[in-house]
Amino acid sequence: MFDKDTKIRPEDAETIIGEGVKVEGTLTAFGNVIVKGHVSGSVETKNEFHVEEGALIEADTTAQDAYIAGEIKGNLKIGGKIELAKSAKIDGDITCRVMSIEEGATFNGHCAMGNTISAE
């Protein structure tokens, strides 16, 4: 008797980049990406991208949805919704379908919205 094959759910393969490491290069993740540390290069996921307060991203990012509370130097291409928390600081362009910005967030760049953009 064999167990059925199961597809990997995004929450089952969440990449967590903590404060104790630094990632450099092209990171293509299988599931959600949560960053509390430092990433440089580029990030790609078909799922959620979370940047926690204190994190630094020096990278272009492609994701389905995003929550940003840290600092980003680079462009964000988001297929669905992006949320900027009050501690967010973004130097770069954002492409997304829906955007919410909390009072206090900093955003310097261009924004293109409304079209359906695939994260793929």
């Binding site: 008797m1 064999f2 167990d3 199961t6 990997i8 929450e11 089952d12 393969a13 969440e14 990449t15 967590i16 980049i17 903590g18 404060e19 104790g20 490491v21 630094k22 990632v23 450099e24 290069g25 092209t26 990171l27 293509t28 993740a29 299988f30 599931g31 949560i34 540390g37 290069g41 979370h50 926690e52 929550y67 509370a69 928390a85």
Partner: protein, 261 residues
């Protein structure tokens, strides 16, 4: 046909009673087979490979986790099914695979609930559980596309089937992962820092889980002058440089109903 591989520590007379009970249960369930008692001069891997050639279809390890790891590496490419009758209550694999200790595990072997699992491969040698290194003086490259600088990490673990005990609180949710998934075609790469919670009477160092990556391929090389030691499946020692990759679904293991995976 079954092969029962008895661990070398079972020669100690204190295990006589539990072995008798196991053998009686095996007979009662009609899953008896060939018995090989390991000694320090008999190599488990060679025995398993030889017996598979002779038509053995199921290899059942009777003993501890270390022998299970050794037998697993010989059973790759689905050449047979691996069962486990754990003897001691501190068996980590028994808990993960959902196996009771002693003769009750015979019923699990008999039920043949089989799960196909991945193995890890380090420099072309298979491992079932994990690879651990206790140094941050290394360079780590994943998927040939990005590097992870371990910075302040004190312990780095590559896990296929092991405890990872990772928890993280984000603004939206609490993430908890207890066990690595041995059937997802990926390995868990975990970085730990010092500073975790420990009680004063435990001398073991406490570490705090910091980062978690899911990868198929990892290259580990030394960052300084000296090669770094890696511990494979809790026993085997290897040195850098090391290439670690996942071998997806290459082994069949009998698991219990109470398994954690």
């Amino acid at each position: 046909m079954y092969l029962y591989l008895y661990d070398s520590f079972l020669v100690n007379p204190k295990y006589r009673k539990i072995i008798d009970r196991i053998e009686n249960r095996i007979m009662a369930l009609s899953i008896d087979g060939k018995v090989t008692r390991l000694t320090i001069i008999k190599n488990a891997r060679e025995i398993v490979v030889e017996q598979l050639k002779r038509g053995i279809e199921t290899v059942v390890v009777v003993g501890g986790d270390e022998l299970l790891f050794e037998a697993a590496s010989a059973l790759v490419e689905n050449r047979g099914v691996l069962g486990f009758i754990p003897i001691e209550s501190n068996s980590q694999m028994a808990q993960i695979l959902g196996l009771p200790i002693g003769e009750a595990a015979c019923d699990v072997v008999s039920a043949r609930r089989i799960q196909q699992m991945d193995l890890g491969k380090i420099n072309n040698q298979y491992f079932l559980s994990s690879v651990v290194l206790g140094s941050n003086n290394v360079k780590i490259k994943c998927e040939s596309s990005y590097a992870v600088d371990p910075l302040k990490s004190k312990l780095i673990k590559v896990s296929n089937l092991d405890w990872i005990n990772f928890s993280l609180t984000t603004h939206k949710k609490i993430i908890k992962k207890e066990i690595s998934n041995p059937a997802d075609g990926l390995l868990e790469l975990i970085f730990e820092q010092s500073g975790g919670f420990s009680l004063p009477f435990f001398k073991k160092k406490a570490y705090k889980k910091d980062s978690l990556f899911y990868v198929k391929n990892i290259e580990i090389t030394k960052a300084g002058e000296e090669e770094i030691t890696l511990t494979v499946d809790q026993t085997k020692i290897m040195k850098t440089p090391a290439t670690i990759e996942v071998a997806p679904r290459v082994i069949k293991i009998i698991v219990g109903r109470e398994r954690m995976i």
